[in-house]
């Protein structure tokens, strides 16, 4: 019985690992192929099955005039928009969350929980519902097809995540901590940034991670709200596709665009495994 269990366990773990990792490996392999190796027959292993070439990667940094696609600019656009929007969302979201956690708001029938839900409801709505208002809004204020416009929209998308995570986090920080800081002579602002905030770093890291992931992978709004002036990475990657699908450069660009998230995941994972998240509270 237990042998069967062990067998099944390892079987499923192996199966799942292959299921997750195989597409990556295939993308890595494909990114080094040329037209011939992709279209003639199924091949897997470089040098053995096919002769590897860097053409798929070179295209990504070549300017369009020389027949390349140049994802460098969209790449940095994406980094800029994601980081700026995440940073602002975290700052504003954390302040909002602290207020929602520590003060009682009352406006008609609206209470703290309703306000928190209002934030989250932004994420419950299908993005398509928001697309037209956003489009009209950005075109009215003249920020359509601009980095700043995207940052504004992404803040709207990311702040609910930050608020949601941080409200929950602050609720688990005992209010006696703030009170102790006041008694020890801090004013409320000092109590927040000297005592409560340092205690909340694990929460900030988790919130930051989610913001970065959701900002980085967004295709929909980047696609709808930009045209020619500004392009973000996900849109550019999709735009690579043409009448002849360039599998090699598609694979290469897909790998490049996943890379930052893998780096973020490793940093956060290391932080989480140090036990700082669970041990942050008594």
């Amino acid at each position: 019985m237990s042998k069967l269990y062990t067998f099944l366990k390892y079987f499923f773990i192996t199966f799942w690992t292959v299921f997750v990792v195989a597409p990556f490996l295939w993308a890595v392999s494909t990114s080094f192929k040329d037209f011939q190796s992709v279209n003639s027959k199924v091949t897997y292993i470089p040098w053995l099955d096919f002769e590897p070439t860097l053409e798929g990667w070179r295209v990504l940094i070549k300017s369009p005039a020389k027949g390349g696609v140049d994802i460098v600019e969209p790449y940095f656009n994406s980094i800029f928009v994601t980081c700026t929007a995440s940073l602002i969302s975290i700052v504003l979201g954390t302040l909002a969350a602290y207020a929602l956690s520590r003060f009682t708001f009352k406006a008609g029938f609206v209470r703290n929980n309703d306000i928190t839900f209002f934030f989250i409801s932004q994420r419950i709505m299908p993005p398509i519902v928001l697309s037209i208002p956003f489009f009209i809004f950005l075109s009215t204020i003249g920020l359509l097809d601009s980095l700043l416009g995207l940052v504004v929209v992404y803040i709207v998308l990311l702040m609910p995540i930050a608020v949601w995570i941080m409200v929950d986090f602050f609720n688990r920080v005992p209010k006696e901590l703030d009170e102790t800081a006041l008694i020890d002579g801090c004013n409320p602002y000092q109590a927040f940034y000297k005592v409560v905030l340092p205690n909340s770093i694990p929460g900030l890291i988790v919130a930051g991670m989610f913001c970065i992931i959701f900002g980085w992978i967004d295709f929909f709004f980047a696609f709808i709200l930009t045209f020619t002036e500004v392009q973000l990475l996900p849109v550019k990657v999709v735009a690579l596709n043409s009448s002849i699908t360039p599998w090699w450069s598609l694979s290469a660009s897909a790998l490049v665009s996943v890379a930052p998230l893998i780096i973020v995941a490793f940093i956060v994972e290391r932080y989480l495994s140090k036990g700082n998240l669970s041990g942050a509270l008594k």
Partner: protein, 361 residues
């Protein structure tokens, strides 16, 4: 920084947590009280009686619905917590997880911009008192619960100039051995630095051994303020009688039969209270089990009981007996022989307390 030890006056304070309610329930009913500089006070009462609210009002975490707080005759009611010179220790350890033990202890002084030398000197003194010296450089979150509570306590004691150190059941998480030592330490600190200490507890032994003055509270009301001896011998209400002492005070329904006498189940008991204007009224007679004497022969002021239980507590025996349906408890010396069956118990008149409407006559 100027010396800030202060006399604390609470004048006509009352507090409700739902002031907008047309009929608010009061967590604290109106009261006035003065805490003298350098004394030790214990606030004693069951859970939810308003003890913590009172502390929070003094420290400024809660603004009283009515009334005024004065430190040395200066009103501080509208002063924010951080501007009052008060230290408060909560029931469960509150520490700054991200800092070392040293930084935790130094934090209140740093917030108030003390010099580096002064901070070092105070942190050293306090950490010596609290046995924390060997941990000063470890991260505070790595310590055990009772060590963490010592840090909380230390942060309260590190400022010599505080008006008062308020402690809200601070020793709950600390093991009994250390508890005893810490209480003594606190007493020493009080005697040495003349820091006013206010100690909230629901444990009467803790209150009695710690404080010079005990404030007994019940349901938002201050029922008695006094020395441990007063609370024990002359409880002002039946509540204090029940609450203080172990076992609780014996309290019997009785009727006033003459100016100084009451009747319980046809037995007349003489008291030292003046009951002239309570003739034929229903009152309660209270007497501590410590004061009831076991006597051999029936005489005046004795009651006959049927012994139902004898418990040996080592240093004394606790007799439980019945007179009709009344239960009477009496503490007697361990060596004293206990006859079987019926016993005569003597109620010394000077130790009998008579309560009318639950209040001492």
């Amino acid at each position: 920084m100027e010396e800030q030890m202060a006399k604390i006056d609470l004048s006509n304070i009352s507090h409700t947590y739902n002031p907008l309610d047309p009929k608010p329930t009061y967590a604290l009913n109106p009261f006035s009280m003065t805490w003298e500089n350098g004394k030790r006070y214990a606030i004693l009462g069951p859970s939810g009686c308003g003890k913590t609210t009172m502390l929070n009002i003094v420290s400024g975490l809660v603004r009283p619905s009515k009334g005024e707080i004065l430190f040395d005759e200066t009103p501080v009611t509208d002063l924010k917590t951080e501007d009052r010179n008060i230290a408060q220790v909560f029931q469960f350890p509150v520490i700054y997880n991200t800092m070392t033990v040293y930084d935790n202890l130094a934090f209140p002084l740093r917030c108030r911009e003390f010099t580096k030398e002064k901070i070092e000197e105070r942190v050293k003194a306090v950490s010596d008192t609290l046995n924390l010296s060997s941990f000063l450089n470890s991260p505070a979150r790595k310590l055990t619960a009772d060590q963490k509570q010592l840090i909380s306590l230390g942060r309260g004691l590190v400022r010599e100039d505080v008006a008062a150190v308020l402690m809200d059941e601070p020793l709950t998480v600390i093991d009994p051995d250390l508890k005893f030592r810490l209480r003594r330490n606190l007493k020493e600190i009080n005697e040495q630095y003349k820091t006013t200490l206010v100690y909230v507890t629901h444990d009467q032994n803790e209150a009695m051994t710690f404080a010079e003055n005990i404030i007994v509270m019940d349901q938002g009301e201050i029922v008695q303020v006094g020395l441990p001896k007063d609370l024990f011998e002359k409880p002002k209400t039946t509540f204090v009688g029940y609450f203080i002492g172990s076992p609780a005070m014996n309290i019997f329904h009785s009727t006033v039969s003459s100016d100084h006498e009451v009747k319980i189940n046809d037995t007349t008991i003489k008291t030292n209270s003046n009951l002239g204007n309570l003739k034929d009224k229903n009152v309660k007679l209270g007497i501590r089990s410590e004061f009831i004497e076991l006597v051999e022969k029936e005489k005046s002021n004795t009651v006959k009981i049927k012994l139902t239980r004898v418990e040996d507590f080592g240093n004394f025996k606790l007799l439980t007996g019945k007179m009709g349906d009344l239960v009477i408890k009496s503490k007697v010396e361990r060596e004293k022989p206990i006859p079987d069956g019926e016993l005569n118990l003597y109620f010394p008149p000077e130790k009998c307390c008579v309560y009318s409407d639950e209040k001492l006559v």
